[in-house]
Structures are given as structure tokens and as C-alpha cells.
């Protein structure tokens, strides 16, 4: 995304951050896992797939791992954790399913464009900017956690 934004753009981004952060602290007060800045890009009318991006921090002293994700059927038929990888020899970008994404102790992992993402398959409806999606994340140690992802306007 562009680094150069007007003051209004920055304020909007800051607002989204604070909204996302506020909405995301739903995983139980004692959890060592914290999810921040969860978002998805708005999608064209006929798009079938989408992606949710977020950052997972592990404040605990033991590694944890994200092992599954799901969304209500009103959002998409299926959600899967995927990673986009670039082929070494051919330069092709491909996706592969990820069964277990480690979040290291006292560390964090970003799911971001071009890397890890929660892929939404067979969208039930287009993702509209300004709406939110509830995503259930399952961690090996911390268990299940419902987070809220903000749908942001494409091209912003």
C-alpha cells in the first residue's frame, strides 16, 4: 500500500487500527495470544474468493500454533489457512494450504498480502467496505478465539 497518505488517510487508518484492536480483544483475558489489525479487502460483485489478513502476537513463554480458521456460512462456505509462495525457478506465485502455522513464544506472525492469509472460499456475498467479518481462529494451545475483521475498500 502507498506510504504517502494525507492526514485524513492516516487518521482513517488509525481509526481502523483502534477499531480492529478494540474488537479483537475477545479471546479471553488470560490468553497469551493477541490478534490485531484483522482486515479483508472489499471484493467485486462476482468474486468467489477473499482473504483475511491479521497479526498474531504470542506473549507466552511457549510456542503456539494456528491450526484452523472458520467463518459463518453467511460469509463463505469454507475458510482455510494458506500461504502464497513464489516458485524458486519459475517465478510463479502459488498457494499452499497450511496445516499448522507456528506463532513463536514472545513473537508474532503477520498474515499479510503475498504471504499467509485466511482464504475465504465460495463467498456467500461480496465483501463490502465498512462491514465486518467474524473469524474463528483455533490455536493448539490457546484454543478457539473469535476475532472481527474489518472490510476495507480496495484501492485505498
Amino acid at each position: 500500500m502507498s506510504l504517502q497518505r494525507g492526514a485524513a488517510g492516516l487518521a482513517a487508518v488509525a481509526l481502523i487500527f483502534s477499531l480492529a484492536a478494540g474488537a479483537c480483544n475477545q479471546g479471553g483475558g488470560s490468553s497469551t495470544i493477541q490478534v490485531d489489525d484483522a482486515w479483508a479487502r472489499s471484493s467485486p460483485q462476482m468474486a468467489m474468493a477473499g482473504a483475511v489478513y491479521l497479526t498474531i502476537a504470542n506473549t507466552g513463554s511457549a510456542d503456539d500454533a494456528l491450526v484452523a480458521a472458520s467463518v459463518p456460512s453467511s460469509v463463505a462456505a469454507t475458510a482455510e489457512i494458506h500461504e502464497t509462495v513464489e516458485g524458486e525457478s519459475d517465478g510463479m506465485m502459488a498457494m499452499r494450504p497450511v496445516e499448522r502455522m507456528v506463532v513463536p513464544a514472545n513473537g508474532s506472525v503477520a498474515l499479510e498480502p503475498g504471504g499467509y492469509h485466511v482464504m475465504l472460499l465460495d463467498l456467500a456475498a461480496p465483501l463490502e467496505a465498512g462491514t465486518t467479518i467474524e473469524v474463528t481462529l483455533s490455536f493448539e494451545g490457546a484454543g478457539e478465539m473469535v476475532i472481527t475483521a474489518e472490510v476495507r475498500e480496495a484501492g485505498m
Binding site: 500500500m1 502507498s2 506510504l3 504517502q4 479487502r41 471484493s43 467485486p44 460483485q45 462476482m46 468474486a47 468467489m48 474468493a49 477473499g50 482473504a51 494458506h82 502464497t84 513464489e86 516458485g87 519459475d90 517465478g91 510463479m92 506465485m93 502459488a94 498457494m95 498480502p113 503475498g114 492469509h117 482464504m119 475465504l120 472460499l121 480496495a154 484501492g155 485505498m156
Partner: protein, 199 residues
């Protein structure tokens, strides 16, 4: 390589070095690709073949992708849209964006047109159901793609080259942007190329 390109661009795009010619931030080949001979049906224009050559004084951005792609393709389209939004409107309107689908099986004319129209006002939705024609177009750009084996009706993914090609009014690929290329550098490249074509 991307980082170096970015550094070079940030030096040349700034106020320093007034003597030196500004340079493009993206990848420039010593032997530029000539794609003028390629044309593909444009579903956004009733299937009329679109030559890979921008109208006079304009630029055509070409990307090979597919609409079921959740991450790379919409990120690239969104980034290009940000870059166009950074340009003065008079320059932005001289840039059109085309996606060539590498998944004509699922990307119907209607779906691809809707997808591109969502991101851009000057959009081309290039789709051929003739594998030889798609192959020929991809070869001209050096694009590779691979459709995952699947039964009819089954979900599948398509691995593909994720480069954005900037084509000028002679049908030459003047600069290429790899995935994740900075949107400000995209805008700077477009501005430079459009201003060059004015002189």
C-alpha cells in the same frame, strides 16, 4: 533486487541530482519485449480483439491472473488502483489496465468484466478459450501459469507469474513491476513514462 530498484528510484525521484535523467523504478530489460503482435478478445468490449499496444500517448498495464485468486491478484489490482489514484487525473486517464485470465474455465466473460470494472474505470477483460491463443500471448510476455489438476466442478488453484507489464503505444513492454512493488514507485514510473511521451 526490488530493494535496490527502490533505493535507486528514491534517489532519482527526489530533489537531489538535478543533472541526472530520472530513471524508472521497475525492471527494465536491456532487450525490451515487443508484444505489439499479440491481441486478445476483450470481454469488456464485446469480445473485440485488443492489441497489446496502448493508444497514442497512453499506457496499457497488462497482468495475467484469475478472479478466484484471493491474495495476489486483488492485491495487485488494488495496488495499481492506489498508484493511479496518486496520479493527477489528467495523467491517470491515459492509463488502461488489462487482466488476461489464465483460468478461462471459471472466469466467464461476465465475471472477468465485473472484476476488472470493480477496480478500474478503464478496464480490459481479456479472455480466450483457445489454449493456443492464450499460450502465444503468455509466451510473448514470458508469463508462465499452471492450472492445478482437478475434476470438473472441483475447486482448484492456478499458479502464475504475478508481474505487471507496462506497455507503451508502440507495443513495447517499457517497465515491469514484480508483485508487491511499492505503489508510489508505480505512480512515479507512470508519470515519468507519460511525461516522456509528451516531449
Amino acid at each position: 533486487m526490488l530493494l535496490i530498484a527502490a533505493l535507486v528510484a528514491s534517489c532519482s525521484a527526489g530533489q537531489a541530482q538535478p543533472q541526472s535523467q530520472p530513471t524508472l523504478a521497475g525492471v527494465v530489460r536491456s532487450q525490451p519485449l515487443d508484444v505489439a503482435a499479440v491481441s486478445l478478445p476483450d470481454a469488456a468490449n464485446g469480445g473485440t480483439p485488443l492489441p497489446m499496444q496502448a493508444p497514442d500517448g497512453e499506457l496499457l498495464l497488462v497482468y495475467f491472473g484469475y478472479t478466484h485468486c484471493p491474495d495476489i491478484c486483488p492485491t495487485t489490482m488494488s495496488d495499481i488502483s492506489v498508484a493511479l489514484g496518486d496520479l493527477p487525473p489528467a495523467l491517470a486517464e491515459r492509463v488502461a489496465v488489462a487482466m488476461v485470465t489464465v483460468d478461462p474455465e471459471r472466469d466467464t466473460d461476465e465475471r472477468l468484466t465485473d472484476y476488472m470494472g470493480y477496480f478500474f474505470s478503464r478496464a480490459h477483460a481479456l479472455r480466450t478459450t483457445d489454449p493456443a491463443e492464450l499460450d502465444e500471448a503468455a509466451r510473448a510476455f514470458g508469463v508462465r501459469w499452471e492450472v492445478e489438476d482437478h475434476e470438473p466442478g472441483e475447486r482448484y488453484e492456478v499458479a502464475h507469474t504475478a508481474i505487471t507489464y507496462v506497455v507503451d503505444d508502440s507495443g513495447t513492454v517499457v517497465v515491469e513491476w514484480p508483485f508487491g512493488f511499492d505503489t508510489e514507485l508505480m505512480a512515479a514510473d507512470l508519470e515519468l513514462l507519460l511525461e516522456r511521451s509528451d516531449t
